[in-house]
Structures are given as C-alpha cells and as structure tokens.
Symmetry: D2
Subunit: 145 residues, 4 copies
C-alpha cells in the first residue's frame, strides 16, 4: 500500500516519548515528524545548510489523521511542493508506516518567505523558485499568493 | 485586541522547552496548547473526568499561525463547538497572547466519537449532544458528517 | 506535607502531552519542569532578562523520582543555590504536588558560567555571586569547584 | 574517539524539535534519548515486547553533559547493567556523536521492579536476573539494594 506522492523521502522512527497516555503517537508529534521531513526537503532542494537557511515561516498547517501510529513502528514521509506564489508556497506530505505500508497521515503547509530584519514577508527569490521547480516541476502549473 | 470567539477559556504559560532554535514557540507546540484547551473544554462540557472520557479521536487539524509567540508570554485559548454531525463534531479555537491581547493562532479540529472496542466510529451519544449544545447553542444550526 | 526547602517558588501545571504511555508524567518532563523553575529563579535572582542572560551551561543533573505525577495535578517547585565555586555553582530543587502536598521529585544541578565566544568556562562574576548570596545566603558556607 | 562502554548499542537522530532556543539539544531531551536506548536494551535483554514489559520504574537519573549536541548530528548510545540488587538494578549509558566520535553525555539510572497492582516494589524475578546477567555478566560482581 506504500505509494508516496512525492519523490523526496524522509524516514523517522517512533520514540517512546512520542506516545501519549492513550498509547498512540500524539497528534502534535505528527507536526514534528512533518517538520523534520520539511527541513530535510528544504536543505536538499535549496542546497543550503544550517539554521540560517530557515528564512521561511509557517503560516498554515493542515493534518489529516488516517490511522493511529504505534510504538515500535517507523514511518516514511514524502514531501513535495504543489504550488508557488509570489511570496508563499505550498508543501504537501504523506506519511506511511513502513512495515505495514499503510497511510497514517497527510499534510498541507503554507510557507511564507520572510525578511526577519524587516519583519515582513518578501518575494520568493528567483534562485529558490528555480531550485524548487527543479525538484518538483508540477508546482509551476499551480499558483498561490 | 483580545476578543475571544467562545465562552470557554483556558490559560497556558509558555515554557522555555516550547521554544525552538528560531527562538519562538515551535509550530507543533501550538497543537499541544490547543489540546490542553480542548481537553479542559471536554471535561467541563461533558462533566466527565479522567482519561476514560477521551473516547473521541482527532481526524483533522487546521492551524493558522497569526503571530510568533515569545518566551515569557502567556496565552488564553477560547474553545467552542461550531457544528455537530452524526458521529463527528467540529471544535474551533482562537489563541490570544494575554499581555498584548494580540491574536497568535486560530484552529479548527474535526473530532470523531470512537468505539475503541469495535475499532470504528460511533454516533455522538444523545447525552453528549445535549451537553455540547448546552455549552455552545450555535453548534446546532450547522451540520457536519 | 508540602514543606519546600527554598524560598524561591515556581508553579507548573501538568499538560496532557507531559504524560507518557504508562499514564504518568514522563521522566524527561521532570527536567523540563525543573528547567522552567531554574530559569525563573535565575531571572529573579540576577535581575536579568531574556535569553541573553542564559550564559551558563548545565554540566550535571540528578533527579530522584519520589512519587508518580498524574494528569490534572499541579506542582510547586522550590529552587535554591547550595554552593558556589570558582566557575560553577549548585542549584537544588524539590517538587511537591500542590493538591496533596506530597513530594514528587528532588533534583540537584551543577551549572557552569560559560563564555560562548571563547568556548570555555569562566569565573562566576562577582556581581552574580553577590546576587546569588543575597537570595541564598547559606550557599556561601559550602564550596564547589 | 568513539569507544562505547557496553555491548548493547542504540542509534538516535537529532530532530529539529530536540533543540532549544540556545540552538543545542535541550538537556531534557537527553533523558528521552537515554529512555529510547534503555527500552531497546530492555526488550532485547528480556526478550519481552510491548508496553506490558515495562513493569519497572525509574527511581533516580544522573546525567553528565560532556559536549553540546547540534542539529544534523546523530548519536550512538551504549547501555549496560552494572549492578543488580534485590528489587533494583543500575543501568549505565554513554552517548557518542557518530560523526565526530566525541562523547556527549553519560548517564546512570536506578530502576526498581514494580508491582503496579500492589503499588509497591517487588524482587527482581529470577528469570529477569538470569537474562540481565547473560547480557551483562559483570553486573553480577556488584550489588545494589
């Protein structure tokens, strides 16, 4: 059943601390898994490194929880850009459990290029746009603001 | 500027551990704050107690990040039900910083009543529906499935 | 039974996310509670503010777990300095549950004044030493290196 | 420089969420890494599985922080039992960064076999004692209570 939507893949292993008192991975931890995958995608795609490369801010997160995730399981997250606008872009992800292949969650994030010094959004730099489209050509056919 | 949408309020204080390397509260921690508020709402509204009252599962989460949250700040989260369907209902929240009154995030969650023994969703019990509508009468005028 | 060892007190509330799959507050989260209390102590005692005041590093942590901590409980942590050496000092803490008054944990930390630019420890500045002894006079009668 | 003390090894990767506002892995997260390693050791050594195997409680934790841990690094933790008493035993660990081989932390934990139903400690079962000594024969030459 494991059929990732995007070329870029990232692996994570469930830690005991990721569980909550219900005995499943806590809902907030899914955002942490998606964040790890998103940063790995970002470093890979933009060929930049380190925390200074994180000059983007998360404006919106959507997560659909498809199946509970258990202790001892591990996951594969695929990440891709599905749309680029003037100053923002959309990253989508799916998360599959590696042993069973089942879909455990899907996510959509809106990210905004940010000028921390000026305290406001800024246009997506041309070089970044080019690198993102090189990784995910299909992002060019959609648009977001 | 602090103008909560809903009657039910919950307070949280930012811990140092809630920050990430950018120096703001990490995006996943917002789900933890909303979870604390949602559980407080649930115990208050349903007059039930303890982890056994948590026979509902989170199916979808949406968060809009409006403003970064800093160390030393504290927040007020308001929670209300905006729609009840056959087996699911929608809880919405807004989060304001208490000192400045500014809006820091908004959230919408879809929750499903769940029968853990049978491993499937179940209808919202009449008694729960009555208690939710007593807390948030406006939820009755919308619908979800 | 609540009889804190030190004058400085800090309150924390257990979040649902602090629990683990056993249903109690996870052992690592105790360090987070102690950290929140330690920072509050530090800002109070040194009359400094913000993350730039954190020019100290944790060299050693000891925690004795005395009683499990449950969902819905809240805690009071007392913090005091029990010894100051040339470049390090010792902070000790106890943590009581507020409702029952029972002791839930005790902790001892060794902290080192650090020069991040030079990448090495540095002597405790005289002004800090004076402020710490003003808060915890008994720290002057012990010694650490 | 990587020279683990014990035969049993466990790998962890630093997540972005593990960092704090200082930009290093937060001190509490080291306990989470050690916990993951300890559970892996426990399942391996006792040949038991699942959360029901966790009928032991952590009574004391000591951590010596030797070197800051950065984003992008990964670690190897070795775990071994150094002493078994009547109802408790001691697990020690060291944590090395895999790329540089440097020692980042050492830990010592006192664990107690626990009867959750009776609410008190219980003797280390003979079968567990035998399995622990099969993994770490040197634990037999020390003693703890």
């Amino acid at each position: 059943m494991l059929s990732p939507r995007f070329r870029f893949r990232h692996l994570e292993t469930v830690r005991f601390r990721d569980l909550d008192a219900i005995g499943h991975v806590n809902n907030a931890v899914f955002l942490t898994y998606f964040e790890s995958a998103r940063l790995a995608y970002w470093f890979h795609t933009t060929r930049r490194e380190g925390l200074s490369a994180l000059d983007i801010v998360l404006a919106r997160a959507e997560v659909d929880y498809r199946s509970p995730l258990q202790f001892g399981e591990s996951i594969e997250i695929s990440v891709g850009c599905t749309s680029i606008g003037r100053s923002s872009f959309v990253l989508e992800s799916d998360m599959h459990e590696r042993g069973s292949g089942r879909l455990v969650a899907e996510s959509r994030k809106v990210l905004v290029c940010y000028d921390y010094a000026a305290g406001r959004s800024r246009p997506v730099p041309d070089e970044l746009r080019r690198l993102i489209l090189a990784q995910d050509p299909e992002a060019g056919s959609a648009s977001s603001t």
